[in-house]
Amino acid sequence: MALILDLVEQAVQMLLVVAIAPLLLGVTRKVKARLMRRRGPPLLQPYSDIWKLLHKEAVLATNASWLYRTAPYVIFAATWVAAALVPTYATGLLFSWSADLIAIVALIGTGRFALALAGMDVGTSFGGIGASREMLIASLAEPAMLLVVFAVALVAGTTQLSSIAAQMIDTPVGLRVSLALATFAFVFVAVAENGRIPIDNPATHLELTMVHEAMVLEYSGRHLAMIEAAAAVRLVLYFSLLACLFFPFGMATADKSLAAVSLGLSSYLAKILAFAVLLPIGETLVAKMRVFRYPVFLGGAFAAAALAVFLQFVSRGF
């Protein structure tokens, strides 16, 4: 019985992340447009975009291989599973122990791996550009992300997301220098991984500046839909991670009473909505970077995270 409940919970969680993903995208776009004095698309526009794409026929390049066709599903699945394993409104998910934070980071990597390969499959130079830049960003961002993981794990004494969150809630660690640094680094990484300004501009289609868009340039129809959905889910994933790691308050931990759960749910939604509003604000404040200034940006994140880890090694008090 309890198992069934857990399964239900897990399923809810999975559906939840997929369900709200386009909405978040819509929110960010809307806010951004508003900040630019545009009216902007309706909030639910992403849903209809994906829906439309799903029903269009997919145009494949003549020399596209099976990898090109399967990649979108792999990407989506990897991102989705990763997102599904991050506790959103309640800790102690049924399967949350099957992959800890490191594994989740690696899962995102799996998705990226597939995406980059797919970008190179048809053999246009855009795919190449996109893939090589994406991997550059990844190879700068992933270590920073792992260091963030280290820092958090050292504070909480575990890499288990549920346990981390539970720990943070039950025994409030208070304000920690290392955690502050880690949060800072995490935000940078999240911006980079989601291809937001200043790293990448999701709205652009100017070949020389685009990264993510360049990779998926050849995609159309349902495949493109999958990739767009994956991108949206990834945004949710990072928001939930941010919420779960650094702002876990309000999560339902021990008691799974309806009240607690609903509290957790609402607080979760509030949190990620807040992030979805803050992100575009941040984006409008800065300008897109040249490719070769990424190292500076992500290097900052890396340095901050590394500093956090060092502090943890020096003394658990930080």
């Binding site: 026929e57 390049a61 291989s65 122990w97 992959a99 390969l117 270590p143 890396f302």
Partner: protein, 669 residues
């Protein structure tokens, strides 16, 4: 079992003799490879049985050969059994693969005898139980592999590769010899048992450890002793490259583990800092070197260096923990290292087999001249892709598990008391994280440029899928990569007794756990479950696909690629491997490798071709070996005139030597 192993080795040597006898006959190659396949399979089965059945049992044997008064000691314990499994897994796979691949061999007489002898040598190293036998077999292994490296001596660069290889190899052997001399003491107690019994003082232990790091490291490819590796591994025939990269470097690791953990036992804690420093350096530099390559086999060889670094990180941590009395953590780190040994032998062999398939299909190793092979050789592509994913440490494959364990070991290291370690370990962790990401980049490049896109040359267009046997081997190894990834608990449990024997602790048994997940330390702390992850991924992907195909359209139209309005884009417009690596080169290369890029772009209206040239310098050559060679040459030139003196001058030499000696006698007393 030990008897069996030794007789198997004897059989391998007999096979080598047989190969010599068979000479040029057409049937030589299948016979030899079949024989070595059979023998190494028997060895594999035996060692596996031993590891599963009673790993704790230790069987020894002394033959009346070898060093006079000492005899040749052999010993089979859990550690040797594990490495026997690893070695013969690679050995039998390579033999099987060669049954197909070996048909293309142009000079079988230069390969066959040494192949069998090489297998014998690697097995003997693992079994040796005294310094003399160990070094003898160790160098025998180097010697036979040297012969294999120079098998195609007429191809440019191979002779040089062989030269650098053998010189470095004997350098390493001499370092090990010095270490043994130190451990054996002036009395010359060369048997490993005697060394185990004698507990060296901290100073001796430290010096010995450094010497072993140098000696075994030069064979394993620890930076800056790696220079021979990217030259030699690609030069050999591909199934041998697989053995050299996949197995021999691990035998070197075995040497390190055996001597440091078993014989020395208690090196001072600070030696771990040295090991960790070199390991971190090796990890990052190795993968960066690999990224700069465009020769497929050389890329793989350089990447071996990175994995060796990861393994040594585990070993360094194990030393640190053990010397600080945290055996369970030492067990964790050591398990991670040994697990990675197995994993790397799996996917690196797989990748070299794949590279060999590409080579035999296109006669090309240069990725810039390949591409689009996924259409021409689909099966190879699948296997190679699995290898790439595994080596990039992507879940749910095996590469991730060992890296995950290493990370877990790093995460418990704040318990280490010493400051040096407090600062070194997180730095190494950061380097490991960096290298993990770079490895993914490296293999996106390797697979993308070689198999994806459009063929860049005729050779790539005309490629044909390779023979069934090679494919079978590749798929078997791909499957093993999967299994090791989703069922790591089983392997960790097999490693338990091995680790137990070395650091006196082992990880808690995993196979009993629910859902087949692994919990290295405590359930609340960290756990990973490849099986569930795989199920999750597979189910969600298929569900989505079904959903999409069911409820949305599945209509598909083929169309030419988008050419920005320029019809028939030539393959030359594709991204090349050097252009793919360009951003990384810009970011890391300019500082690390002193990369020089020369672009000669014709102005508008000019009809001449544009030229782009990249020079990547290996700092090891630049700052270590180059000067060394120059000094040696200069010294030789300085001394050479002494060959051309007149008799009178020679007499003067004799005379002055005599006078000096006389003065010594006069001054004495």
């Amino acid at each position: 079992m030990l008897i069996l192993a030794l007789s198997c080795v004897a059989a391998l040597l007999a096979t080598a003799a047989l190969a010599v006898a068979l000479g040029r006959t057409a049937s030589a190659s299948p016979i030899v490879y079949a024989a070595s396949l059979a023998v190494s399979f028997v060895l594999l089965a035996g060692a596996l049985a031993r590891l599963v059945a009673d790993p704790a049992q230790i069987s020894t044997l002394t033959l009346p050969i070898g060093l006079p008064g000492l005899g040749a000691h052999f010993r089979l314990d859990a550690l040797s059994a594990f490495f026997l499994v690893m070695a013969n897994l690679g050995g039998s796979a390579a033999s099987l693969y060669a049954l197909g691949y070996g048909r293309h061999e142009t000079a079988p007489r230069r390969v066959l005898p040494f192949f069998a002898a090489y297998l014998a040598g690697m097995n003997l190293v693992v079994l040796a139980d005294d310094a003399f036998t160990f070094l003898l077999t160790w160098e025998f292994m180097s010697l036979t592999s040297w012969a294999l490296v120079v098998a195609h001596h007429d191809e440019p660069g191979n002779a040089r590769a062989g030269y650098v290889y053998l010189v470095m190899a004997s350098f390493g052997t001499l370092a090990l010899l010095l270490a043994f001399g130190l451990l054996a003491g002036p009395a010359g107690a060369y048997a490993f048992d005697a060394m185990r019994a004698a507990h060296p003082g901290p100073a001796v232990a430290a010096i010995a450890l450094v010497l072993v790091l140098v000696g075994a490291g030069s064979k394993a490819g620890v930076v800056p002793l790696h220079v021979w590796l990217p030259l030699a591994h690609p030069a050999a025939p591909s199934h041998v490259s697989a053995l050299m990269s996949g197995v021999m470097t691990k035998i070197a690791v075995y040497g390190f583990v055996r001597i440091v953990f078993d014989l020395i036992g208690t090196p001072p804690w600070w030696t771990s800092i040295i090991v960790l420093a070199f390991a971190g350096l090796t990890t990052v530099l190795g993968v960066l070197y690999a990224l700069m390559q465009h020769d497929l086999k050389r890329l793989l060889a350089y990447h071996t260096v990175e994995n060796i670094g990861i393994i040594y990180i585990g070993l360094g941590l194990a030393i640190a923990f053990q010397q600080n009395g945290i055996p369970w953590a030492a067990a964790l780190a050591l398990t991670a290292a040994l697990f990675h040994v197995l994993n790397h032998s799996l996917f690196k062999s797989l990748l070299f087999f794949g590279a060999g398939a590409v080579l035999s299909a296109t006669h090309e190793r240069d990725m810039e001249r390949l591409g689009g092979l996924i259409h021409r050789m689909p099966h190879t592509a699948v296997a190679f892709l699995v290898g790439c994913a595994a080596i990039s440490a992507l879940p749910p494959l095996n590469g991730f598990v060992s890296e995950w364990l290493t990370f877990q070991a790093i995460l418990v290291s704040p318990q280490l008391p010493q400051w040096g370690l407090k600062l070194m370990v997180p730095a190494v962790g950061a380097l490991l994280a960096l290298s993990a990401a770079l490895a993914a980049t490296c293999f996106v490049k390797a697979f993308g440029i070689t198999f994806l896109g459009r063929p860049r040359t005729r050779a790539a267009e005309a490629a044909q899928e390779v023979d069934r046997i090679s494919l079978a081997v590749m798929f078997a190894f791909a499957l093993l990569c999967f299994l090791a990834g989703i069922l790591p608990g089983i392997i960790i449990d097999r490693l338990g007794p091995v680790v137990q024997g070395l650091v006196g602790e082992m990880l808690p048994p995993q196979s009993g756990l629910a859902w087949l997940s692994i919990v290295p330390i405590a359930a609340g702390r960290s756990s990973y479950n490849g099986t569930i992850l795989l199920i999750f991924l597979a189910s969600s992907a298929t569900l989505t696909a079904i959903f999409v195909h069911r409820f949305a359209t599945r209509a598909t139209r083929r169309a030419p690629i988008w050419d920005c309005g320029y019809p028939q884009l030539s393959p030359a417009t594709e991204y090349t491997s050097s252009s793919f690596a360009m951003p990384i080169r810009r970011v890391f290369g300019t500082t690390v490798f002193a990369v020089r890029e020369k672009l000669d772009m014709p102005g508008p209206g000019e009809t001449r071709a544009a030229h782009f040239q990249v020079k990547v310098f290996d700092p090891a050559w630049r700052y270590a070996y180059g000067p060394l060679v120059r000094t040696a040459t200069k010294t030789a030139d300085r001394l050479n005139p002494l060959q051309f003196l007149t008799i009178r001058r020679y007499l003067t030499l004799t005379f002055s030597a005599l006078i000096v000696l006389l003065i010594v006698v006069a001054a004495w007393r």
